[in-house]
Amino acid sequence: MKKIVVSGIGCVSGVGIGYAELKANLLGGASGVRELSLSLMEEDGPDRRMAAEAPELNFKELLPGIDLKATDRATQFVLLAAKLALEHAGLNLEQLDRSKIAVALGTAETGYTSLARFYRDFFERGAWQANPIMFANTPINVPAARVAMYFGLRGPNATISNGQTSSLKALAYGCDLIRLGQADIALVGGVESLSPETYYAYHKLRALTGQKRNGGWRCAPFDAGRNGLALGEGAVVLALQSAERAEATNSPQLIEIAGFGSGWDGPSRVNGRALATAIENALAEAQARPCDVDLALANANGSIAGDRLEAKALRMVFGSHHSELGVSAIKAATGEMRGAAGAMQTAVAAIAIETGQIPPTLNLRAPDKALPPCRISSQSLPRPITTVLINTSEWSADSFSLVVRRCEDLRG
């Protein structure tokens, strides 16, 4: 199978814009989770409003020619992330056949923000007062289509909407397009934007930190005293191409996409089995053994039940034979980015491999006992890192994992 590498990474998030800033902030222990700006919220919802909101950005300046009225926040995030990824990869679109550049983005809830605003408009003021531009932003594929339009990319244009697993599945989709010759380069990743509706939905599900165990606001993945998640938003775009093409064009080769695996809990519904299966399948496709994994970038977001299942899955695969396994859950820093989370974890995998640091799991005091013996800390830990496992799981059933590797190893 053709080897696929990541040549460039761009991101917009509460914890940094662009690869370099993300790297500095994340390894430095910064968190994007803070009091939400009121402009996002409405009067009748919950009163504590914390999330990793993307900073105010001057998109007009950052994205020349953008139509700010016609584009929603999610689209603005992803256009900037795509631009940063192209720059990071040193890809000059003027010199490329843009009918051979594909886009594949994951998102869980994009489209709902505009749908809610449009519906509210015609509900309150009548159909003829509602803004049809808002309606044009309701289909889930709008951000991906806008990337194609803004950059003139005429290759396949896909959007995967699969909850938490969305952006890793979009990555897999992009790799397949390249392997099957449908594209030379694929811009893949994920995007999510906060809105009152999504915030209230997680509040209604009592999934947010502070809603259970009276612990107050503290998003603490894998901590024994964790009490829920914090939401996040933003976009992450990775520029993928075959290693062969990267070699020939002298493009950066940040990491190799080595193997994907999917897993379900199945009829037996053994706790953690879904994710363990996904991890095993990803390792098999990457031709790696559990002991080859230096770092697992977890799906864990502070959810009481979800983190426990992931800890069990890690124990099932890595057992007690691999006490040197590094584990990091970055969602206390980035917030739960849902459909963009897997792409964010992949970006962080590149950071970990480049710097030889296990990124901090913020707010960790006492790790959950269900975790296997491993190296996990609230601060960055130095450690040479070659192979990284990335986990995603939608309500602990539909799970999807990825194994990535340092590129130099391939060249021998």
């Binding site: 749908l115 044009a136 594929n141 909407s161 299966t277 059933a397």
Partner: protein
């Protein structure tokens, strides 16, 4: 080459003019329209009032393992059509390797019908009255979760949300998963519930016809929207052979492209769309001369039909007049993310029965659309190769190619 071949072994449909593939095919070939006054919400302040709603759908009849009300309408419609397709193919979860049996679903808006219902609760009764069940039903990601649990199939599963070409994206990707060796069998298709937001939105964009949907007709006035789902069981020829499955047709290949032109309008010259159909044919190893049915995207809007006819003429040149073209949207409305999947089912049935379905309400062909529209009455003819066009919002184009199955 036998290694790489992908065949269709099962079909399932939920459409406004027929629940179940047999009822649907009877209605389609008899030109039965299901377009009527909208029942699910009040349309009185809009200029148009018609849609193709699935009115006689009883989810409990199709969903066995989980309560139907625990899932959104998209999951319900998808399970119904996929169940029929799997039964039609004789797939028994006990007798296939469940980890090699995948699910690929195309959709435009996923569970947005249920999201809209939750919004209504919130706006009418307040945030406190919103229930967790309502919130859970609005999660797109749950669609395949419910499907996997229902059918006990645990292979690769993906929801592709590429607007109105999503059904074709799903069928194409299912073929890739089989050809790449990730799955032996995939149930692939598309689903879309009908709801108020797109009805109001398309009315505001002036895209909805007031009386009827008339693809390629000179006096066409727009699209009419509908709902439904369509699924196909696709499998490797080797797998189908091994279990002695009946084979409807062969999935030959597909191609995708993006106009990169406008969020809601097609490129008037259809350059990417034409290029894509040529690619789909060459990837399928099918010569343009051997195509003898085109299932058109044919929404009935001025812009789409004009561009689509132009693209067809561009690709098929002098042969254009010899290839019958139909848009079943004239009968079941534009079912968005389900459309290309239901039309793929239709292509397979057309090949099986040797019948090109009609395009109803077609009285006078638009001179700008001078292609061979199967006007009003179905046409019997041997169909060896059928292609299925879809051109979506966002300039997302996709084309799938099916052929009669010939023994190697």
């Amino acid at each position: 080459m036998t290694d790489n071949r992908v065949v269709i072994t099962g079909l399932g449909v939920v459409a406004a003019n027929g629940v179940g593939k047999d009822a649907f095919w009877r209605a389609i070939t008899n030109g039965v329209s299901a377009i009527r006054e909208v029942t699910s919400f009040d349309t009185s302040d809009l200029h148009t009032h018609l849609a193709a709603e699935v009115l006689d759908f009883c989810p409990e009849r199709h969903i066995h393992r989980r309560p139907a009300h625990s899932m959104g309408r998209a999951a319900q419609l998808a399970i119904a059509a996929a169940r029929e397709a799997l039964a039609d193919a004789g797939i028994d979860p006990q007798r296939v390797n469940p980890e090699r049996a995948g699910i690929v679903v195309g959709t435009t808006q996923g569970e947005a019908y249920d999201f809209e219902q939750a919004l209504i609760t919130r706006l009418k009764e307040g945030y406190d009255k919103l229930t967790t069940a309502e919130v859970r039903r609005a999660n797109h990601g749950a669609i395949i979760n419910h499907m996997a649990a229902e059918f006990q199939l645990y292979g690769p599963a993906v929801i592709v949300a590429t607007a109105c070409s999503a059904g074709n994206y799903a069928v194409g990707y299912a073929g890739d998963l089989i050809r790449l060796g990730r799955a032996d069998v995939v149930v692939a298709g598309g689903v879309e519930p009908f709801f108020q937001t797109p009805f109001v939105g398309f009315n505001r964009l002036g895209a909805v016809a007031p009386e009827m949907c008339q693809p390629f007709d000179l006096n066409r006035k727009g699209a009419i929207f509908g709902e439904g789902s369509g699924f196909l069981v696709m499998e490797s020829l080797a797998h189908a052979r091994k279990r002695g499955a009946g084979i409807y047709a062969e999935f030959r290949g597909y191609a995708l492209s993006c106009d990169a032109y406008h969020p809601t309008a097609p490129d008037p010259e259809g350059r990417q769309a034409a290029l894509m159909i040529r690619q789909a044919l060459s990837r399928s190893q099918v010569a343009p001369e051997s195509v003898n049915y085109i299932s058109a995207h044919g929404t009935g809007t001025k812009a789409n039909d004009r561009v689509e006819a132009r693209v067809i003429k561009d690709v098929f040149q002098a042969n254009t007049g010899r290839i019958p073209v139909s848009s079943i949207k004239s009968m079941i409305g534009h079912t968005m993310g389900a459309a290309a999947a239901i039309e793929a089912v239709c292509c397979v049935l057309a090949i099986q029965h040797g019948v090109a379905p009609p395009t109803i309400n077609h009285f006078e062909t638009d001179p700008a659309c001078n292609i061979d529209v199967v006007a009003n009455v179905a046409r019997e003819l041997p169909i060896r190769v059928a292609i299925n066009n879809s051109f979506a919002f966002g300039g997302n184009n996709a084309c799938t190619v099916f052929s009669r199955f010939n023994q190697p």
